[in-house]
Symmetry: C2
Subunit: 511 residues, 2 copies
C-alpha cells in the first residue's frame, strides 16, 4: 500500500471541464477560400467551368500536332494525369519558339470536347483586328523555352536514362504520377491512423544510440568541427537506422503512436530495393500481448490503403492507373490490388516456413540456390518463393530463431524448437519479399537486461530505454515498413529509385 504521506501528496490534477465555453466568440468569416493563383489542371477537371467560359491556363507543352488549318497543343502541369487539349486556329497563332517541354500561358475558351476528351480549349483569332493586334483574350505565349538538346522532347525514355537527369525526370507524366501516388498513399495512412486514435509523432533522426546494435551507421558532425577533437553534441552522434527505441518512449506515454520519417543505412548494397536514405513507417502499440494483434493490424493498414485505391479506380479512375504507359501495366496493378483484398492473409511460424521450403527443396533442388536450414535467416529467394509461388499472396511468418533477430524482442516460452524463438513477424509479399518487420518488445526489465548482456552489448548505453521497464512498464509491440517498398509494391515499379524523388545510395548523391 502507498504510504500515507505519499497519498496525501497526490493532488487532484487541475482540470477545466468545458473550458470551451470561455472566451467563445463567433468565428469570423474566411476573407477568401479562393486561392490567390490561377486554376491548375486538376482544379479545372475537379470543378469544371461552364462551357464557353474564357480561361487562363499555364503548363508545359506535352505534344503538338500542326496541320494546314488547325494545330493541337496538349498542356500538362503535373497536378493531374489529365492534359488539356488546345485547338489552335489558325496554326500561325502558335509562337515560333513553342516546343515540347516549353512552359506556356494561354488564354482561350473552355468548351466541350469533340473527341474522347470531355473538354478542350479553343484558341482562335476570330477577334483579330484589321491592324493585326491579337485579341488578348485569345493568346498562347511561351514563358520558358527549351534548348535544342532538351532531353525530354521524345515521349519514351528508359527509366535508367531518366535517373541520370534528376532535375528533369519528374516532368515525365508517368513518373510525376508516381509522386502524386506517394502523396496519396501517405494521406491514406494519415487517415487510417487518425481513425484509430494514433498520434503521429516525430522521433529524432540524430541519435547517440544504435537501435539495431549492428548495421552500418552514418556519423554526423558539425562541418566546422570535423577533424578536431570537439564534438557538437558533446559525444558521437549518428543518423538513425530505425526510430523504434524512441518511438517506444512515446508509446509508453501515448499508447498508440506512429511515425513516417527518413532512416539511414550506410550499406553498400546497390540493388533495386535498397536505399541509403529511405522513409520508414513505424508504429508502436501499448497494451497488446500477442504478435497476432500486430499482424492483423498491419494487414488492416495496408488493406485500408488498397481499398481506397480500388474504390477510386472503380468510381472515377485512379490517377496512377490513368498515367501508366501500357495496358499491361494497368492490368498488373489492378490484379495486385485485387489479390491483396481477396482474402485474409495467412500466417505461419518460421518453423513451418522452413518445413515448406525444405519439402520444396527436396522435391526439386533447382528451385533455391541456398538450402533452407532451421536457424538460418530466410534468404530473399525463400521469401519471394513463399509469398509468390507457394501462398501466391502476402504471408506473415512469425517466431524466428532468437539469433536471427534483435535484442529487444520478447522471447517465446516454446521449448520445442532447436533454439529459442522470439515473438516477431515479417510480412512477405510476392515479388518484393519482406515488406514489414515487427515484434512484441520485451517489457520485463530483468529479461531485457539479461538478453542485452548475453549479447555482449553495453547495458549502460541503454539506460534511458531500460528506464521504460523500470516504471509503469506495459506489454507492447510494433513494426516498421519501408515506405518506398510499399509504394514500389503497390505501383508495380521495378526499381525503388523511381518512387523517391532523389534516391541516395553508395556513390550516388549528385545534388
Amino acid at each position: 500500500m502507498l504510504s500515507r504521506s505519499l497519498r496525501r501528496s497526490l493532488i487532484r490534477q487541475v482540470r477545466f471541464q468545458s473550458t470551451s465555453s470561455t472566451a467563445k466568440s463567433p468565428l469570423p468569416p474566411l476573407s477568401s477560400t479562393k486561392l490567390p493563383f490561377p486554376k491548375c489542371i486538376n482544379e479545372l477537371y475537379q470543378n469544371p467551368p461552364a462551357p464557353n467560359t474564357p480561361i487562363q491556363l499555364q503548363g508545359w507543352v506535352s505534344a503538338t500536332r500542326i496541320s494546314k488549318n488547325v494545330a493541337f497543343v496538349d498542356i500538362v502541369d503535373g497536378t493531374s494525369h489529365h492534359d488539356v487539349k488546345c485547338v489552335v486556329r489558325p496554326p500561325s497563332l502558335i509562337p515560333a519558339n513553342l516546343n515540347t517541354g516549353s512552359s506556356v500561358q494561354l488564354n482561350g475558351l473552355w468548351v466541350e470536347g469533340k473527341g474522347k476528351q470531355k473538354y478542350e480549349v479553343k484558341i482562335s483569332n476570330t477577334a483579330e483586328e484589321s491592324d493585326g493586334k491579337k485579341d488578348s483574350n485569345n493568346s498562347l505565349v511561351v514563358l520558358g523555352e527549351v534548348e535544342e538538346l532538351y532531353p525530354l522532347q521524345k515521349k519514351v525514355h528508359t527509366a535508367q536514362f531518366l535517373r541520370t537527369i534528376p532535375q528533369y525526370r519528374w516532368r515525365m507524366q508517368h513518373l510525376a504520377a508516381l509522386l502524386r501516388f506517394r502523396s496519396y498513399v501517405e494521406a491514406s495512412l494519415v487517415e487510417f491512423y487518425n481513425l484509430h486514435s494514433f498520434t503521429k509523432t516525430h522521433p529524432p533522426l540524430v541519435t547517440s544510440s544504435d537501435c539495431e546494435g549492428a548495421g552500418e551507421l552514418f556519423k554526423i558532425e558539425s562541418n566546422s568541427l570535423v577533424g578536431t577533437k570537439e564534438k557538437f553534441f558533446g559525444k558521437d552522434a549518428f543518423l538513425t537506422v530505425s526510430t523504434q527505441l524512441h518511438l517506444e518512449v512515446m508509446c509508453a506515454a501515448l499508447s498508440r503512436v506512429w511515425t513516417l520519417t527518413p532512416c539511414f543505412r550506410a550499406e553498400e548494397s546497390d540493388t533495386n530495393r535498397h536505399l541509403s536514405e529511405f522513409w520508414m513507417l513505424e508504429a508502436e502499440i501499448a497494451f497488446i500481448d500477442h504478435v497476432d494483434q500486430l499482424t492483423k493490424f498491419s494487414e488492416m493498414m495496408i488493406k485500408h490503403v488498397v481499398r481506397k485505391l480500388v474504390k477510386d479506380a472503380d468510381n472515377f479512375g485512379t490517377d496512377l492507373l490513368e498515367s501508366m504507359l501500357s495496358k499491361e501495366q494497368v492490368q498488373q496493378i489492378r490484379q495486385r490490388w485485387n489479390m491483396l483484398l481477396a482474402k485474409e492473409w495467412d500466417s505461419i511460424t518460421y518453423t513451418k516456413a522452413i518445413e515448406i521450403l525444405k519439402d520444396a527443396h527436396a522435391k526439386d533442388n533447382t528451385i533455391f540456390k541456398y538450402e533452407p536450414v532451421w536457424g538460418e535467416g530466410l534468404r530473399s529467394e525463400h521469401e519471394k518463393w513463399l509469398a509468390g509461388s507457394y501462398f501466391k499472396n502476402p504471408v506473415f511468418v512469425t517466431d524466428y530463431p532468437i539469433e536471427e533477430k534483435a535484442f529487444y524482442m520478447s522471447i517465446n516460452a516454446d521449448e520445442s524448437t532447436p533454439t529459442k524463438t522470439v515473438a516477431c513477424f515479417d510480412l512477405l509479399v510476392p515479388d518484393i519479399g519482406e515488406l514489414i518487420g515487427g515484434s512484441m518488445r520485451e517489457h520485463d526489465l530483468k529479461k531485457l537486461e539479461a538478453e542485452i548482456q548475453r549479447r555482449g552489448m553495453n547495458l549502460e548505453s541503454f539506460d534511458w530505454y531500460l528506464a521504460l521497464r523500470e516504471n509503469g512498464s506495459v506489454p507492447h509491440g510494433g513494426f516498421g515498413m519501408g515506405f518506398e517498398r510499399l509504394l514500389q509494391y503497390l505501383s508495380c515499379t521495378d526499381n525503388i529509385r523511381d518512387v523517391i524523388p532523389f534516391p541516395r545510395s553508395v556513390n550516388n548523391c549528385p545534388c
Copy 2:
C-alpha cells in the same frame, strides 16, 4: 517554328481512357474493421458503450484517493485529455503495489457518472464468492510497478526538470497533449494541401549542395569510413538546411508541391526557439508572379489550421485546451486563435517597416537596443515589436534589401531604395517574431547566373539547379515555416523544446 523532322518525331502519348473499367471486380468485404486490441480511452469517449456494460481498460494511474469505504483511481492512457475515473468498492480491491504511474489493467462496469464526469467505471467485489475468489469480471491488476524514486508521482513539475527526463516526460498529461496537438496540426495541414491540389513530396535530407550558401552544416560519412580518404557518396555529403532547391525541381514538374521534413543547422545558439534538428514545412508554387500571392496563400494555410481548432473548441472542446494546467493559459490560447482569425493580416515593405521603427526609436530611444537602419536586417526585437506592439497582429514584411537575403530571390525593378531589394517576405507574429520566410525565385537563367557570380559563389555546383531555368522555366515562388515555431506559437508554449519529442541542440543528444 519546329523543324519538320522534330515534328514528325512527336508521337502521341500512349494513354488509356477509362482504364478503370478493365479488370473491375466487386470489392471484397473487409474481414474486420475492428482493431485487434482493446479500446483506448479516446475510443471509449468517442463512441461510449451503453451504461452498465462490462469493460476492460488499460492505462496508467494518474491519481488515487482512498477513504474507508471507497477508493477512486484515475486512469489515463495518452490517447485523450480525458481520464477514466474508477470507483473501487471496497478499497481493499486495490493492489498493494498500485501507485501513481503504475500501469494497470482493470475489468469493471462502465456506468453513468455521478459528478462532473459523464461516465465512470465501477469496480466492486459484489460477486465475491465465500471462498474469497474475486469475480474476474471485476478486477484491478498492476501490470508494471513504479519504483519509490519514480520522478512523476507528484503532479506538478517545472518544464525544465521534465526536460531532464526525456524517457518519462511525455507521460505528463499536459505534455502528451502537446504531442497530440502536433499530430492534429500536421493532419490539418495535410488536409489543406490536399484540398488545393498540392503534392506532398519528400526531398532528400542528404545533399551535396548547401542551399543557403552559408550557415553551419552537419557533415555525414559512413561510420566505417570516418578518418579514411574514402567517401561513401563519392563526395562530401551534408544534412540539408532547407529542402527548397530540391523542392523547386519537383515544382518545375508538379506545379504545386509541399513537404514537411527534418532540417538541420549546426548553430551553437542555445535559445528557447532554436533547434539543431527541426521539422520544416516548405511549399513551392509554379505559375505565380508576385510575392503577394505567397503571403495570401500562407495566411490561408495558417487560418485553415486555426479555424479548425476554434471550431473544435466551440463544438466539443479541444484536446489541447482541456489539458492545460491553468485557466489563464486557456484564455491566452483562445485569445491568440481569435486574434489570428479576426482580420486580414497587414503587409508592409521592409522600407516602410524601417520607417515605422525609426519613428518609434526617435520618440523613445529605450524601446530598442539596436537602432533600426535601412540596409541591415531586422533584429528579433524589431520583429517582435512590429508584430506584438505596433500591429498587434501577424504582419508580412516584404521586399528586403538584396544583401540581407539569399541568392535565389527575384530582384525587384524598383530603383527608389538605397540598394536593390528582392521579392521576398517574412511573416512576423507577436511573441515569436519570424514564423515564415519566402520569396519569388529568380527563374531567368542569365539573371540567376549573374547573381551567383556576383556573390562569388561556385556556379558549377548549381548546374542541376540552373538547369531548371534552361528548359521550360516558369515563374514560381515558395516559403518555409519552422513547424515547431508554428506549434509553439499556436499552443503558447514558452520553449520550443516542449513541442518536439527529443529536442537536439548543441551538447544535447542524450539518447
